[in-house]
């Protein structure tokens, strides 16, 4: 019970911090001081108190987009184990619900973008639709590999199972998986090299361009949902890449928080040293991620 409360508390409070850490890392690389770590929280609070401007073209779908995106991500956050602790909700087949919840959120985000009738937002949602299709099989190859390794059909069973000795026995497969899933993590969260969350050049953006017309509290929800999505997908990835556990409940929570911050720093470093890919290169990189994950599946089921 205590663990569930800590889980929910962390999922509610910590996500924007990751964005702050990424921003700080990038600022350090650029030789700037950068915004404070808590800047994303200030941004969200400020947006919550602002008024809203709606486009006359929009309908209820536009208003539903951010809400569904946040609700689906929040339910997904309850399914994923944080560190060595199992998730509050865990049942056979929860990994499929996990994957499909994101798809539901995406459905409404893309539909809300098309609701504005703007060609820029249409562009964004067409790109999101294309790239997310290509990212989906990678996640399922990863789930198959993990299910085979652990003999489990729940996310908690699959992910908590990974530890140092599993890594030693199947290091090749897991290494391929880490590569593939890191690409998917960056793509799903619209980070460089797929998308730049900071740019305002609409022609080249994906996620930011889909939400151009949202303002006020709705935009705060979107920002928060994006941070939460990074947190939830990041928690999945951290299990693969940093599978430490101590056996002590409290220490494990600390370890999880440190791992997530480490992940944020790594993403910040990647964003600092890489440029965005040309849009036509994006599908190639995503297919490469699928192939990496497929190889890891073949290695474990052979």
């Amino acid at each position: 019970m205590t663990n569930s409360i800590i889980h929910i508390f962390l999922a509610l409070v910590m996500p924007p911090l990751l964005l702050g850490v990424i921003g700080k890392t990038k600022a350090l690389f650029a030789g700037r001081v950068g915004a404070p770590f808590l800047q994303p929280y200030y941004d969200i609070l400020r947006l919550l108190h602002k008024g809203t401007v709606f486009s006359t073209t929009t309908s209820w779908v536009f208003r539903a987009g951010p809400i569904v995106a946040l609700a689906t991500t929040a339910v997904a956050a309850l399914l994923i184990p944080f560190g060595a602790h199992p998730a509050p909700i865990s049942f056979t087949g929860d990994m499929i619900l996990y994957a499909y919840l994101f798809a539901l959120g995406r459905f409404f985000t893309m539909a809300a973008a098309l609701d504005t009738g703007s060609s820029f937002e249409g562009m964004g949602s067409a790109r999101e639709a294309t790239y997310s299709c290509l990212a989906e099989p990678t996640l399922f190859f990863a789930l198959i590999t993990l299910s085979r390794l652990s003999g489990s059909y729940t996310l908690s069973g699959m992910l908590v199972n990974i530890n140092f000795s599993v890594w030693m026995h199947t290091s090749a497969a897991l290494l391929l998986l880490v590569g593939g899933m890191f690409i998917v993590l960056l793509a799903e969260n619209c980070r460089i090299p797929f998308d730049d969350p900071n740019t305002h050049l609409e022609l080249t953006m994906i996620h930011e361009v889909m939400v151009l017309d949202h303002s006020g509290p709705a935009f705060a929800i979107i920002q928060y949902a994006a941070a939460l999505k990074l947190f939830v997908l990041g928690a999945f990835f951290v299990h693969l890449a940093l599978p430490y556990s101590t056996g002590n409940a409290l220490l494990d929570w600390g370890l999880f928080i440190i791992s997530m911050l480490e992940l944020a720093v790594v993403i910040g470093v990647v964003e600092s040293v890489m440029a965005r890919l040309r849009l036509i290169r994006v599908p190639q990189l995503l297919v490469a991620a699928t192939i990496l994950a497929a190889f890891s599946t073949l290695l474990v089921i052979r």
Partner: protein, 668 residues
């Protein structure tokens, strides 16, 4: 006596008979005005639906298996019909969807607006419903064929309802040719079965050994004949044009139910065998994967709303085949869980697809009624004028993508769990099944892309063309069936436990081997957790909505035009269109889709002249594979065509001569 009268099978048979004669009132124009007669026939269809559904559900609960014999004087002996849980399961969509479609047609195809063809349409609609029921009730090859032919022919007359239009005629002819090719396959199938069993009666479940060459021939002919009806790739060629050109409620019944009759045929045939070899399972699974991925890829490229939905039927039949494939592979590797999960997933998807696809076709009909076009790129902003239709279409769209908390998710979850069970098994069979899970994920992703496109371009944004602005919301007769189907999508999605019990019995009929294993579905599938998670999601959405509304009320709120990045004069034609939305995905799949596009070439200088761009995704399999092959066959076979004179008397003579030759041959 009263008990006999209301026994489930009596209800089912009387429902089928009532549906068969439901079109008769319209045949007496002197006695009854067309509109009144139509009302009468709708009432008959609704009564038939209720009775049939009640009978089917009662059979599923009581698990009754019964067999009836109708001794009549035609060759091949008495006709045998029977009821068992598998039949009853397929009767659910067979009675549900046509009942909804008939009520819908009362407003959509009203007798006063379509006096020329409403008689034909109503008569054959009832006949088609009854004969579909007959097909799943038949227990011997000959009665099966009778019902099958009545079904195929009435569907032909329904597809060509508006036969004065050339494209409708062409679609009808294509359908007629392919369905008869399928019937030819059935003519081969039943004699082959007769060779195996020595009787026209269907053999008992798992009574035939699958290892002989004759069994393989039975499997392949069944796969061909039933696959053609189900619309599995690459035998789907008739399906897009037939679904697009039939009236929308007929498309709903065809896509929702007729395809499922093909699936029924295959599952019934497979249930005769035991000791199924690995390659049967792999072939079914591979066909499912190909149909699923290629079907949805074709769908993304379509501009015609109903053609697009038709390609999604191919995709969903693919998903059903994937489930059947998992069940077969489970039988081979000896995994009872894979068998239960795969087969019940496939069967549940049969019902689910019937529900949401019928909902989508009826919704598409309302949109077409309101805008006067089937071209997605001419629509836009329909949601403002048709709020209820748009909401219900949205429910169907989310359901067909397999997203929680609706019914599509539940059946796909069953099939996914089957795949994940396969992961643990040893051997290449299991490996093949595990590779199908990412394919299903890809199908899901592509379906989301496609339905965001449809929903976004048709219902959202601003109207793209003056001439096709949506005019009015549909009447209650059109909305009520859609509401019922949408409600079922939500109900099965949130409370899958209710249908799971009925489903379990059905899978046992198909896979009698399972009876001893005692695997309750509740232990394999987290039915309660699906309800809890779905409920949690809805509660969270509701709470956030309340909070957001309160926020909006507390802060200034204003309206203006969509942000055009500084451009001052936005126009509706600048919106993203269906073709531009799909362009990236179509080019990724260009190697199978073979898209055509005409690009403008005269854009040069500061003030270029008028120009135009068109793009089109053709039915590549038909145009690049079948038609060239058939044309070659046509040219090669010119010698034989002299036999085909077009004189009826001559054909009767041929028949007589053939019979005499056969009679003589039988003496030697």
């Amino acid at each position: 006596m009263a008990q006999e009268l209301f026994s489930p099978s009596t209800l089912i048979f009387s429902a089928a008979l009532l549906a068969a004669v439901s079109g008769v009132p319209l045949l007496f124009p002197r006695l009854l005005s067309a509109a009144r007669a139509q009302l009468l026939s709708v009432a008959a269809m609704l009564a038939a639906s209720c009775a049939g559904l009640a009978g089917a559900i009662a059979t599923l609960i009581s698990r009754e298996v019964s067999l009836f014999e109708l001794a009549w004087g035609v060759p091949f002996g008495p006709a045998r019909f029977g009821v068992d849980p598998l039949t009853a399961w397929f009767l659910l969509p067979i009675f549900l969807i046509p009942g909804c479609a008939a009520l819908y047609a009362r407003s959509y195809w009203h007798a006063d607006h379509y006096p020329a063809n409403v008689r034909k349409m109503t008569l054959f609609f009832g006949l088609m419903t009854a004969s579909m029921g007959g097909v799943v009730l038949a227990r011997d090859g000959i009665s099966f064929l009778y019902c099958w032919e009545i079904m195929a022919l009435s569907a032909y007359f329904l597809v060509s309802t508006e036969d004065e239009k050339p494209e409708v005629n062409e679609a009808g002819t294509l359908y007629m040719m392919t369905t008869h090719t399928g019937t030819l396959g059935l003519f081969a199938l039943f004699p082959l079965l007769h060779l195996l069993t020595g009787s026209w009666l269907f053999p008992a479940p798992a009574s035939l050994n699958a290892s002989s060459g004759l069994s393989a021939a039975v499997f392949l002919t069944a796969l061909f004949a039933f696959g053609l009806k189900a619309g599995i790739m690459p035998l789907h060629i008739w399906l897009p044009s037939a679904h697009a050109n039939a009236p929308s409620h007929v498309s709903a019944a065809m896509s929702g139910v007729i395809l499922k009759v093909g699936v029924y045929g295959l599952i019934r045939t497979l249930s005769f065998f035991h000791g199924i070899p690995l390659w049967w399972g792999c072939v079914v699974l591979a066909l499912g994967v190909v149909s699923g991925v290629v079907g949805v890829a074709f769908a993304i490229g379509q501009h015609d709303l109903k053609r697009l939905l038709a390609y999604h039927s191919i995709e969903n039949i693919g998903i059903i085949f994937m489930g059947v494939g998992v069940a077969l592979i489970g039988q081979i590797v000896g995994s009872a869980t894979m068998m239960v999960l795969g087969m019940s997933g496939a069967l549940l998807h049969v019902l689910n697809h019937a529900i949401f696809k019928a909902l989508l076709f009826l919704g598409a009909g309302s949109v077409i009624h309101a805008t006067g076009t089937r071209e997605i790129d001419l629509m836009g902003g329909v949601a403002r004028r048709l709020p209820y239709t748009s909401l219900l279409f949205g429910v169907g769209a989310v359901a067909i993508c397999g997203l929680p908390p609706l019914n599509g998710f539940v059946s796909e979850l069953f099939i996914y769990l089957g795949f994940f069970r396969a992961v643990q098994a040893e051997g290449g069979a299991a490996a093949a099944a595990t590779l199908a899970a990412p394919a299903l994920a890809l199908i899901g992703g592509l379906a989301v892309a496609c339905f965001v496109k449809v929903f976004g371009i048709v219902f959202l944004g601003a109207p793209r063309s003056e001439a096709h602005v949506a005019r009015h919301e549909s009447g209650w007769q059109m909305l009520l069936p859609m509401l019922l189907l949408g409600g079922l999508c939500v109900a099965i999605g949130l409370a899958p436990g209710v249908v799971a019990g009925l489903l379990e019995q059905t899978s046992l009929t198909v896979l009698p081997k399972l009876a001893g294993t005692g695997l309750p579905m509740r232990e394999l599938v987290p039915l309660t957790m699906i309800s809890i998670a779905g409920g949690l999601l809805l509660v969270m959405i509701a709470l956030l909505t309340l909070w957001y509304r309160r926020r909006l009320a507390g802060a200034p709120c204003s309206e203006t035009v969509t942000w055009g990045c500084g451009y001052q004069r936005p126009a509706v034609r600048m919106q993203y269109s269906a073709s531009s939305f799909a362009e990236m995905l179509v080019s990724l799949f260009a190697f199978v889709l073979k898209p055509h596009s005409h690009r403008p070439d005269n854009i040069a200088g500061l003030f270029p002249g008028r120009s135009r761009f068109t793009s089109h995704v053709p039915e590549a399999v038909l145009e690049l594979l079948y038609i060239p092959a058939l044309l070659r066959l046509y040219h090669r076979s010119s010698g034989i065509r002299k036999l085909q004179s077009g004189i009826l008397q001559q054909y009767v003579l041929y028949t007589l001569v053939t019979l005499i030759v056969l009679l003589c041959a039988s003496y030697f």
